[in-house]
């Protein structure tokens, strides 16, 4: 099960690269940078800044997730799946925390190879800055989640346009202070069954505790 994770905890990168793992910007999009701890939009603009994880190759049924921290009315972003091509065609989950600046603040979009956006779903569910937001695609079905559970009402749709690609994320910052919109703890990979890295860490921890208890009993 292929997986890509990045906590951005390294020397600041302009643009985000991590040794060539990431492909940023391209087409009608701007770059993503890092500040030594988190990822940020490269410029203040309502235009999207995007990053695609290029290696390892991820299967067509995949997920992407980020922890999104956003100041009120500063913009937003979200995870993307099946990102591909010179113009970054993709499916994207976009969540914004704002005061009514935008028409839709929790929506699913498809971005064509031309860069054109089509809005295909919205939900009245809300998010909080710091939530983990996730997008999954299985076959032609896209499902958005927050903090491990599906949005309620559901944020989902069906589309057949983009068959393959890689996971990634997008950010848009409407204010001069780029740290007002930040992504952290990116996680993307195959959607096939199997535990995530975080779940594996939990399993190892349980085994460690279990071994320690057994050891005590034996003693």
């Amino acid at each position: 099960m292929a997986q890509i994770t990045d906590n951005f905890n390294r020397t600041a990168e302009t643009p985000l690269s991590n040794g060539g793992v990431w492909s940023v910007g391209a087409g009608s999009y701007d770059n993503v940078n890092t500040d030594g701890a988190q990822a940020q939009a490269a410029i203040e603009d309502s235009q999207f800044c995007v990053a695609r994880a290029t290696t390892p190759s991820i299967g067509n049924d995949q997920y992407a997730q980020i922890v999104l921290t956003v100041a009120s009315n500063a913009g937003g972003g979200g995870p993307c799946v099946r990102m591909s091509g010179a113009n970054q065609a993709m499916y994207g989950l976009q969540v914004l925390i704002d005061d009514g600046f935008w028409a839709s603040t929790r929506r699913l979009l498809i971005f064509d190879s031309t860069g054109a956006e089509t809005q295909l779903a919205t939900t009245s569910d809300t998010i909080t800055s710091g939530d983990t937001i996730r997008l999954e695609i299985s076959g032609t079905t896209l499902t958005a989640k927050k903090n491990g559970a599906a949005f309620s009402p559901a944020l989902t749709f069906n589309d057949n346009t983009i068959a393959s690609g890689q996971p990634g994320f997008m950010l848009a910052c409407n204010t001069p202070t780029l740290s007002n919109v930040e992504a952290d703890d990116f996680d993307g990979g195959d959607l096939s069954s199997g535990p995530t890295a975080a779940q594996m860490a939990g399993i190892f921890e349980q085994q460690r505790i279990g071994s320690a208890i057994i050891g005590r009993v034996d003693a």
Binding site: S46, A89, G100, F101, W102, A103, L108, L109, I110, D112, S113, T114, G115, A116, E117, T118, Q119, L120, A121, T122, T123, S124, G139, T140, T141, P153, A154, T156, F157, N158, D159, N160, T161, I162, A163
Partner: protein
């Protein structure tokens, strides 16, 4: 005094029940036109000719005060610049949306057959947005009709994704296979191949509307707003 209190309590109960009934939502489906220009803009600049492509009537205020559609999912049909919209709607939202002259509301029961009276008008409305409808008759349930329409859309979407053009670009539903250029035939085959669809039964005199039925029906079940089609 007791009677007044009792009457007030009953009135409050009735009003509360009415408010709850009004707010209760159900999933309904509609065919609606596409609006926008493919590029997001702030709410203040949003109009029918700006913003991301999206189903008409999903913008704030589009259906009147208190009727904004908030929870919805849609499938796009690029050849008809239209969407199959599935939305969680209240009775008031449904009434407002169904009253629009450019909206085709789908009957609420997915298992009921379409009324004989509605067959012709439904066919006309589907054909008006380039969806083949000559196969439609009163023996079909709403679910069966939506299943076929949705599969046309899924085929059209993949064609767009592969070739950057709508399936019916420069041709019509009545164009025959042998009237397509070699390049058009190659693109159609590539779309079918990418979806694992068998097109060996396509003959040279088949029209595109016949081919779409043949190919689309091979696509797997899809889901929209909680229902499988």
């Amino acid at each position: 005094m007791l009677r007044i209190v009792r009457t007030a309590a009953v009135c409050l109960l009735v009003l509360t029940w009415a408010a709850l009934a009004e707010a209760q939502t159900s999933v309904r489906y509609y065919l609606v036109p596409r609006i926008g220009n493919g590029h997001s803009v702030p709410l203040a600049e949003l109009s029918e000719t700006t913003g991301a492509y999206r189903p008409k009537y999903t913008d704030p205020g589009a259906l009147g005060v208190g009727n904004d559609l908030l929870d919805w999912s849609a499938m796009r049909y690029l050849s008809g610049q239209a969407f199959l919209l599935g939305a969680d709607v209240t009775a008031a939202q449904h009434a407002a949306l169904a009253a629009q002259s450019d909206v085709l509301p789908v009957p609420s029961s997915l298992e009921a057959t379409i009324s004989a009276l509605a067959v012709t008008s439904t066919k006309n409305q589907l054909e008006a947005i380039n969806l083949p409808a000559d196969w439609l008759d009163s023996s079909l349930t709403t679910r069966q009709i939506l299943r076929r329409i949705g599969k046309f859309m899924l085929f059209d979407q993949r064609h767009w994704g592969l070739h950057g053009e709508a399936l019916l670009q420069g041709i019509t539903l009545d164009t025959r296979w042998n009237q397509l250029s070699n390049a058009q035939q190659t693109k159609l085959r590539a779309t079918a191949d990418s979806l694992g669809i068998d097109y060996s039964a396509v003959t040279s005199t088949m029209t595109l509307r016949q081919i779409l039925v043949l190919l689309g029906d091979q696509l797997p079940v899809f889901s929209l707003r909680g229902n499988d089609f």
